[in-house]
């Protein structure tokens, strides 16, 4: 980036903001027409991307203040400090302290951008990553380009990949892992797994549940093995009850503390209310999560709305549930054995998050980090199994 040779000044409060960010946008448009020239994208996609590349202009400073997603400062400064050959936090590295911020900074710093001049700039870097991801996804076998365009037009996908957050670095590798595994291409999966491990350990855990169930238990081939796996998992929960509940209760408390006004400092002053209680048994945890899943599915609920963004995300939740049911029905996924382990790992994610949910904004984000990759994977599973059925029918006739 050119900033390597220039002192960092945040131009977010001046008219130069438009000049620098417009150059980032123009650069993105150049990439779009270049991709079209190489026949990597269609005419429709060309126009869609010209429009959606403008996403970063819409959110920060327009719909909301950049402080609403305060993490943006972390990743922007990670990249800025790297440009000057420094570290945002001394001693950061890939396997220890501040590994998440460090890796996000490293990855985003390699995305070519003309100017990193404001908090919005990395939004364009994320959009470029989303564009490359789109090209990859829309060119794999069986998928329809229009459906993939539909996925990348999901409002949350546009939102999180238009901000200077690390969400694109979680959503994209998680989707690549699941889809590559379903395609039987293991190299992209092996490359992306360490990234997800560092950037979002929870998502890595849910992916691993799916991979272990299919690789070791072969749950995608046999319903009996799937049932054995589920029963083993439940027995495992009871055997390691103390350890599992300790982790769940710790995270529950951490999310309660984070949700206080002034975060952990506020929690330090006011402490816990009498309503909060630790989960004391595995059975309690299962009952609580079953009660919590419907709430998590529809977050943010109308009585918690604090703006237009909340309303959009609520209707998006409803649309995604309808989309899920549509996928299951259209591709008769209930008849496809590989559907069950995939949905089970998604269910585990929802079950765990429903126990932790305290803050709507945070959990809408967390939910999308699993919903998007799993939905794309389910779609791929649907189209590929439909294709295989057709082939089988052809052979038999």
């Amino acid at each position: 980036m050119v900033n390597e040779f220039a002192a960092w000044v945040d131009y977010g409060d001046s008219y130069l903001y438009y000049l620098f960010e417009f150059s980032n946008y123009a650069w993105c448009i150049l990439l779009v027409i270049f991709a079209h020239h190489l026949n990597l994208i269609s005419k429709t996609a060309l126009w869609v991307w010209i429009v959606v590349f403008a996403g970063p202009f819409l959110f920060n400073y327009v719909i909301f203040s950049p402080t609403l997603y305060g993490d943006q400062y972390i990743y922007t400064f990670e990249v800025v400090e790297r440009a000057f050959g420094r570290q945002r936090i001394e001693g950061s590295n890939l396997i220890g302290y501040n590994s998440t911020g460090y890796l996000a900074g490293v990855l985003l710093s390699y995305v070519p951008l003309p100017a990193l001049a404001t908090l919005t700039s990395l939004g364009f870097a994320n959009r470029i990553l989303a564009f490359i991801f789109y090209i990859w996804l829309s060119r794999i076998e069986y998928v329809s380009e229009k459906t993939i365009l539909g996925f990348i037009l999901i409002p949350s996908f546009i939102l999180y990949t238009s901000l200077s957050l690390r969400e694109a670095l979680i959503l994209i590798p998680a989707t690549v892992i699941l889809v590559s595994y379903l395609r039987g291409k293991y190299l992209p999966m092996l490359i992306m797994l360490p990234l997800v491990y560092i950037l979002k350990f929870q998502v890595f855990t849910f992916i691993m549940i799916y991979l272990i169930s299919t690789m070791i238990f072969r749950t995608h081939k046999s319903m009996i093995m799937f049932i054995i796996f589920v029963i083993s998992a439940i027995i495992g929960l009871f055997i390691f009850e103390e350890q599992v509940l300790k982790i769940i209760n710790l995270y529950r408390l951490a999310f309660v503390a984070e949700d206080f006004e002034n975060g952990y400092a506020g929690f330090g002053i006011y402490g816990l209310s009498n309503e909060f209680a630790d989960i004391s048994s595995t059975l309690d945890a299962i009952i609580e999560s079953l009660k919590g899943i419907p709430v998590l599915l529809f977050l943010p609920l109308p009585w918690n709305w604090e703006g237009i963004l909340y309303a959009i995300q609520f209707f998006e939740s409803v649309a995604l549930i309808i989309g899920f049911i549509y996928l299951v029905k259209k591709y008769s996924l209930l008849k496809v054995q590989a559907f069950y382990p995939l949905v089970f790992s998604l269910g585990v994610a929802f079950g765990l998050y429903s126990l932790l949910v305290q803050n709507e904004g945070t959990f809408v984000r967390y939910r999308f980090e699993v919903v998007f990759p799993w939905m794309v994977a389910l779609y791929y599973l649907g189209v590929s199994s439909a294709h295989q059925s057709k082939e089988l029918n052809k052979d038999s006739s």
């Binding site: 131009y11 150059s23 150049l30 020239h37 190489l38 026949n39 005419k43």
Partner: protein, 293 residues
């Protein structure tokens, strides 16, 4: 021809037909003119900064052992650090009012003019005028300390460096001498205003502690309250001295030697990219009108 060769051919074709063209040169020339125009319009801004240390050794933050410590932690409110108290004051109306009363309004909004302090005319945007007309309220014709508050809030940044006690206050200005003076004055006034509030609080705490001591019949509680009372009196003495209380000034306001904004190279480069992309887009659109429209 394999895929790689075909992609290479298409890439070269794209650059030759749409990027490295004669019309691109015209756009590059236009971008240079546009950049120069912007650079001439903009005025250079210097970065003025001052380094402070959060005063963590004030009497109130000294830990007292035993029951006194417990009582102190309940009474003190551990969440409000001196940095937070200082920052809140810096952006307060009380500080803006003092700055205004000390004549900073004129230095900030009408330097070198003959206007009296309370007679500096205030201009309003069309939107503000329209709102006032529609909603039926009157807009102030002159600037007040509220404008000073907004100016201080918008132009001065206060950041704490990591978990250390180092605080950096920054300001961007065309006039470094004025900004240095303003930043120093703002910090001194914010600290002294914060002290005023703290003195009132400490005095009321002393009165309550005295009442508590008079009513106490338990020796351990009496001892704890006595320790707290001593600590509160010590705070009061420190607060009433002339020295800054919440922050320690390590380095008074100083300016960068050269302007930090605008960055002319960044402006030229950003415009080059914009104009080149625009040129490529127009050229590509013209050449492929039938296919992409």
């Amino acid at each position: 021809m394999n895929n790689f060769e075909q992609s290479l051919k298409l890439t070269l074709d794209f650059f030759n037909s749409h990027v490295l063209t004669k019309s691109s040169l015209k756009y590059l020339g236009a971008s240079l003119i546009f950049s120069l125009l912007i650079i001439f319009i903009l005025s250079p801004k210097f970065l003025i900064s001052t380094t402070l240390l959060e005063n963590t050794s004030t009497a109130e933050t000294q830990k007292i052992d035993g029951v006194g410590g417990l009582l102190q932690s309940i009474a003190g409110g551990a969440g409000n650090t001196n940095f937070e108290k200082f920052k809140s004051r810096l952006e307060s109306t009380a500080v803006a009012k003092r700055l205004w009363d000390e004549g900073w309004g004129k230095k900030v909004f009408a330097p070198g003019s003959d206007y009296p302090l309370d007679g500096i005319p205030k201009s309003h945007s069309m939107g503000a005028r329209l709102s006032a007309l529609l909603l039926g309220y009157k807009l102030s014709d002159t600037l007040t300390h509220h404008d000073m508050k907004q100016f201080a809030k918008n132009s001065v940044g206060l950041t704490k460096v990591g978990r250390s006690s180092k605080i950096v206050a920054t300001m961007k200005s065309r006039d470094p001498e004025f900004a240095k003076e303003f930043l120093d004055a703002l910090i001194y006034i914010a600290d002294s205003e914060a002290k005023v509030g703290e003195i009132v609080l400490t005095k009321s705490r002393i009165a309550s502690l005295k009442e508590g001591l008079a009513d106490s019949k338990n020796a351990i509680v009496t001892s704890g309250l006595s320790n707290l009372l001593n600590s509160a009196y010590f705070s009061l003495v420190t607060l009433e001295s002339d020295q800054p209380y919440f922050v320690i000034i390590v380095d008074k306001a100083n300016s960068t030697e050269t302007p930090i904004s605008p960055n002319i190279f960044l402006i030229i480069f950003a415009n080059l990219v914009t104009f080149l992309s625009l040129s490529a887009f127009i050229s590509y659109f013209r050449a492929n009108k039938e296919q992409i429209w």
